[in-house]
């Protein structure tokens, strides 16, 4: 067996990194700094009736908004929207009422020509607790309610109130735009309106991260622990014998590395963000509870988190073992980066149809400079 050339390894890693960063597989809804206290958020619907039946069969704008609120309600537990139909409440800012209505201005200030709708929130700075959320739709625009691709009438866009309402109510809940915060995900909460007409897994994961009631049972099966442990032991051999790696200090034993990286990956594949996943793994280490994942993993190729976040987790795990669990220093031929990169890569193959032997071979082929291998389905 020949030792891989350094340049080949570099090339393989660069290709791998670029492939990972360019793929639309990262997960990461984005949250605002404020959220509602648990309970009911009552929206005053003042959108009125449509002049004729809408494309999707709705007979009023309020009905469309009600459907959008109900859609969010199916995915959150700790907060629920309720709707006051045909509310006659005064439309005002900072009045404690959550108003939803059409207007040509936003509480006295005119819309600009590019804006379809505006959401505003009031909150306590000290606690981040929301106390009011209003949504104003621009009545200078053409509206309907339909599914499917965006429509036009001649050259004039016909805006779909349903998808815009889903988006704005997402802001009211406390969700931000993932695409404006470094994410590349398919989401209704992205900043730009598109042909997407329903909430996605990322939107739902965001809502559940704010108001989920303890998580859900993962729909992804991870391999039995003895197999990733076997993989990691073989990896140590490759680092020591082929890569001639020197020993590095570690406070986490090999089994701990494998077990907790698997748990971290389980939460990430279950659509938890980095912070939530780390918190839940550490809770398990501390024996303060095991949580479900944040949402069901969508069908298709199973996505994995960005590696820098996996490395952040591994670094925090080392600190936790050293400072909280008071573990002594040991040594390993596989450094943190290597553990994160290759254990997650092994799991990626396993979760995408490869058995233990195939996954191990594919990872080692990558290490030996043979590039990213195809998954097994």
């Amino acid at each position: 067996m020949t030792r891989p050339r350094r340049g080949t390894l570099w090339g393989a890693l660069v290709v791998l990194l670029l492939g990972v960063t360019a793929a639309d597989t990262s997960l990461g809804f984005s949250l605002l700094a404020n959220k509602w206290p648990n309970g009911t958020v009552t929206m005053q619907l003042q959108l009125g009736s449509a002049s004729s039946t809408l494309v999707d069969g709705s007979t009023s704008w309020n009905q469309v908004a009600t459907n959008a609120l109900a859609t969010w309600n199916t995915h959150v537990d700790l907060v629920k929207f309720s709707a006051v139909q045909n509310s006659t409440a005064r439309r005002a800012e900072n009045d404690g009422l959550n108003s939803v209505f059409f207007a040509s201005d936003v509480f006295g200030e005119p819309f600009d020509r590019d804006t379809l709708a505006i959401a505003t929130s009031w909150y306590r700075v000290s606690t981040g607790a929301k106390i009011e959320g209003d949504v104003v739709f621009n009545n200078a625009k053409s509206w309907n309610s339909y599914r499917g691709n965006l429509r036009t009438s001649g050259t004039t866009p016909v805006n779909d109130l349903m998808r815009v309402a889903l988006h704005e109510f997402g802001h009211i809940l406390g969700l931000d735009h993932p695409d404006e915060n470094g994410q590349n995900v398919r989401a209704m909460m992205n900043s730009e309106i598109s042909n997407l007409d329903a909430l996605t897994a990322d939107d739902i994961a965001g809502g559940r991260s704010l108001y989920g009631g303890g998580g859900v049972t993962s729909n992804v099966s991870f391999p039995p622990r003895n197999e990733p442990n076997d993989f990691f032991n073989q990896l140590i051999g490759v680092y020591r014998n082929e890569l001639r790696a020197g020993q590095v200090t570690t406070y986490v034993d090999p089994e701990g590395i494998v077990v907790w990286l698997i748990e971290y990956a389980r939460y990430r594949v279950g659509l938890c963000d980095h912070s939530t996943a780390q918190t839940r793994v550490f809770a398990a280490i501390d024996n303060t509870g095991v949580s479900g994942v944040c949402a069901l993993t969508p069908a298709g190729t199973i996505p994995f988190p960005p590696r820098n976040e996996g490395l952040d987790f591994m670094t925090a795990l080392q600190v936790k073992y050293r400072d909280e669990l008071r573990r002594g220093a040991g040594s390993s031929f596989v450094n943190n980066e290597g553990a994160v990169v290759w254990v997650l890569e092994y799991l990626r193959y396993r979760l995408n149809g490869c058995n233990h032997g195939d996954a191990t071979s594919k990872v080692f082929a990558q290490i030996r400079g043979q590039g990213v291998q195809p998954v097994c389905r």
């Binding site: 390894l9 890693l13 660069v14 990194l17 670029l18 960063t21 360019a22 793929a23 639309d24 990262s26 605002l32 439309r91 005002a92 800012e93 900072n94 009045d95 936003v106 509480f107 006295g108 200030e109 005119p110 819309f111 600009d112 020509r113 590019d114 804006t115 379809l116 709708a117 505006i118 959401a119 505003t120 929130s121 009031w122 909150y123 306590r124 700075v125 000290s126 815009v164 988006h167 704005e168 802001h171 931000d176 735009h177 695409d179 404006e180 915060n181 470094g182 994410q183 590349n184 900043s191 730009e192 309106i193 960005p306 590696r307 820098n308 490395l311 450094n335 980066e337 290597g338 990169v341």
Partner: protein, 192 residues
Amino acid sequence: MFRRLLPLTLLCTLVATGVARSTTVIPPSFGALVSGASTIFVGEVMNVRAAWESTPAGRVIVTSVTFRVEAVWKGNVGAVTQLAFMGGEIGDLGMMVHGMPTFRMGQRDVLFVGGEARRISPLVGLMHGRMRVERDLVSGVDRVRTHDGQAVGSVTQIGPQRAPASLASITPMRLSDLEGAVRAQATAARRR
């Protein structure tokens, strides 16, 4: 070796990191940004101050941002100017207009200011009329990013057709190139 690759990874993944929050806005094209602006200038934030303001719909918080004007590319504006944005924080109460840009002292921006006297945002396309200026610490060259921090390689990448974060340019265009494009666009519009 992975450690040495981390900067590349971070560059690739964080290149679009931003702070702006948005509502539903159709992003204006570069041409619409320029034609919709009565003034376009480069400014440095000197002061940010929130205050209560009475409107027919009740009291709202408005944040006034004072800019030291470095250069004027279109229209007329003094050496110091102020723009008012709905939203802000006073004491323990905050009002957020989702999508409204927020500013910090010392930030440098290119501002595309609309012509109407008052709107919820004085900028064209709400947040889209703000482009962020950053100085390359190595070369000293000023470069520009979109309101949410995404690099644009050229003005053709501004607007509804902009690339997703993963495909965006890594090296932002130079401020001087944006200035040239703005002036050319404004001149062409006058000729029409």
